[in-house]
């Protein structure tokens, strides 16, 4: 599974970091999401799915490879 971040849509609400701090972080200057793990392991997928679901800007996708 691969995570896609549509950065121009990101409004820096940080909800992905709350849901899955292992996979997401925020840029210090403006809070825009940073993808730490493009291909997170299975043990992280629940958190990633929650991050996708709660992203208010609909800027995240989890795609099957």
């Amino acid at each position: 599974m691969r995570v896609e971040l549509d950065e121009p849509k990101c409004v820096a609400a940080g909800q992905c970091v709350m849901a899955s701090p292992e996979v997401f972080d925020q840029r210090e200057e403006d809070g825009v999401a940073i993808l730490l793990e493009e291909r997170p392991g299975d043990e992280l997928l629940d958190g990633v799915r929650e991050a996708v679901a709660v992203c208010p800007a609909a800027a995240l996708r989890l795609v099957e490879e």
């Binding site: 121009p8 849509k9 990101c10 409004v11 820096a12 609400a13 940080g14 909800q15 970091v17 709350m18 849901a19 701090p21 925020q26 210090e28 200057e29 403006d30 809070g31 825009v32 929650e50 679901a53 709660v54 208010p56 800007a57 609909a58």
Partner: protein, 413 residues
């Protein structure tokens, strides 16, 4: 229906209901009873607002998520057809600079990124020890003071007021002034002129402080914005308006969540016990989201206007028509939250829309969650015998504010 000559739906011709709708006195924490049949049978329907306008009311969780992330749905409150909350908001709209609260992408995205710094998850989390210490101290004072006490003035209002004042760099000694004027600015029962006078007083107060910070900056947010103004990244008026918005939004809402959350928990002792008996941050974190879902204190809805025709649920929302997203209706939608009327601190609650949804979702939500985690995670553990010192039907609820609330919450222990 097929048996009408015009082919109109059965409800055509029925009177358009007024919005906001009244709550049932016997269930002061539940959504207005008229909302549920609408969500079940007419989930997108016209309602009548204060100025006679008839925007669409959207009550289902899934429809709200779809529309609030749709780029054809605008937050520009100068668009004709925008369903203003009240006459005050309509009056100030043309005089308000471009802010995160009245713009769309891509301008909104740029503006939001310039004001977002203080609300980064890590920066908010770093405030936890200081907020914990503050809450512990206030509970010490409450226990040492008169019993019964008013939870609103002993804890609910001072915690978020102190936190937002320190975050912004506003002296806390001004709290009576800013609490009073924030209350007036958000009260839908006042005339436009009264509410405008209150928001203007707050604007002048922050403007004066902001000019001081331009000269003598500290490390708080007003000074951070002053730095951005000096660097040409932000306009002076924008910074002052954002300062006012953060000050207003930063204390009343969280204060209400503390007081109404405590009331809800005292009415559900088995749920209160969950918080009383745990120090697990995951349990506390989920409890906060469930209380946000259950209470959904924004009682005037999220307001938007359609920029183009939008087909949804077999209907067409025409360009120029207003929309109101009732967040408590969505948060009590059984499709999204089975047995939604049940307060259940263990349920998956994270996808509630109490902070709105879409790119305009509450800027301060991470701070609000942190404050509520500390308060809910401490108060009932420290005062396990906490109980109401009044009957629920003696409490006075705030039915006219932008957010719901209770005027005082007498408690004893």
């Amino acid at each position: 229906m097929a048996d009408t000559l015009t082919g109109c739906p059965a409800h055509a011709g029925a009177p358009v209901p007024a919005y906001p709708m009244p709550r049932a006195e016997a269930c002061p924490l539940a959504p207005p009873p008229a909302v549920e049949p609408l969500r079940a049978e007419q989930p997108i329907t016209k309602v009548r607002i204060w100025n006679g306008g008839t925007p669409w009311l959207i009550t289902r969780h899934a429809d709200q998520r779809a529309l609030l992330t749709d780029p054809r749905v605008s937050n520009d409150d100068c668009e004709p057809g925008f369903p203003h909350v009240n006459a005050h908001r309509a009056q100030i709209a043309p005089h308000t600079p471009k802010l995160i609260t009245n713009t769309d992408a891509p301008e909104h995205t740029r503006l939001r990124r310039t004001v977002n710094g203080p609300f980064l998850v890590k920066r908010i989390e770093a405030m936890r020890p200081a907020i914990q210490k503050m809450v512990d101290g206030m509970i010490d004072d409450m226990l040492a003071g008169p019993n019964p006490a008013d939870l609103l003035t002993a804890l609910a209002l001072p915690v978020p007021s102190l936190v937002i004042a320190e975050l912004l760099g506003v002296p806390y000694k001004g709290h009576a002034f800013f609490q009073r004027n924030a209350g007036l600015a958000l009260d839908n029962s006042l005339s436009a002129d009264e509410a405008t006078a209150a928001s203007r007083a707050l604007g002048q107060y922050i403007d004066t402080l902001f000019r001081e910070k331009l000269e003598n900056p500290d490390d708080a947010v007003l000074s951070e914005m002053a730095g951005r103004v000096k660097a040409g990244e932000m306009e002076h008026a924008e910074a002052v308006n954002m300062g006012v918005a953060m000050l207003i939004a930063g204390h009343e809402t969280t204060a209400t969540m503390i007081s109404l959350g405590t009331l809800a928990l005292l009415q559900h002792p088995e749920q209160l016990a969950v918080l009383r008996d745990t120090e697990d941050p995951k349990v506390i974190g989920n409890a906060v989201d469930e209380l946000l879902r259950y209470l959904s204190i924004l009682q005037t809805g999220v307001r938007r206007v359609a920029l183009e025709d939008i087909e949804i649920g077999g209907l067409t929302i025409r360009a120029g028509e207003g929309m109101i997203f009732d967040v408590q209706a969505a948060n009590w939608d059984p499709e999204a939250f089975p047995e939604a009327e049940r307060l259940d601190l263990g349920r998956p609650a994270r996808q509630h829309q109490a902070f709105g949804y879409g790119p305009h979702q509450c800027l301060g939500q991470n701070l609000a969650r942190l404050e509520l985690q500390v308060v809910y995670g401490t108060l009932y553990r420290r005062i396990p015998t906490l109980q109401l010192a009044a009957r629920v039907d003696e409490l006075e609820f705030d039915h006219t504010g932008t957010t719901y609330g209770v005027h005082s919450l007498p408690v004893t222990w």
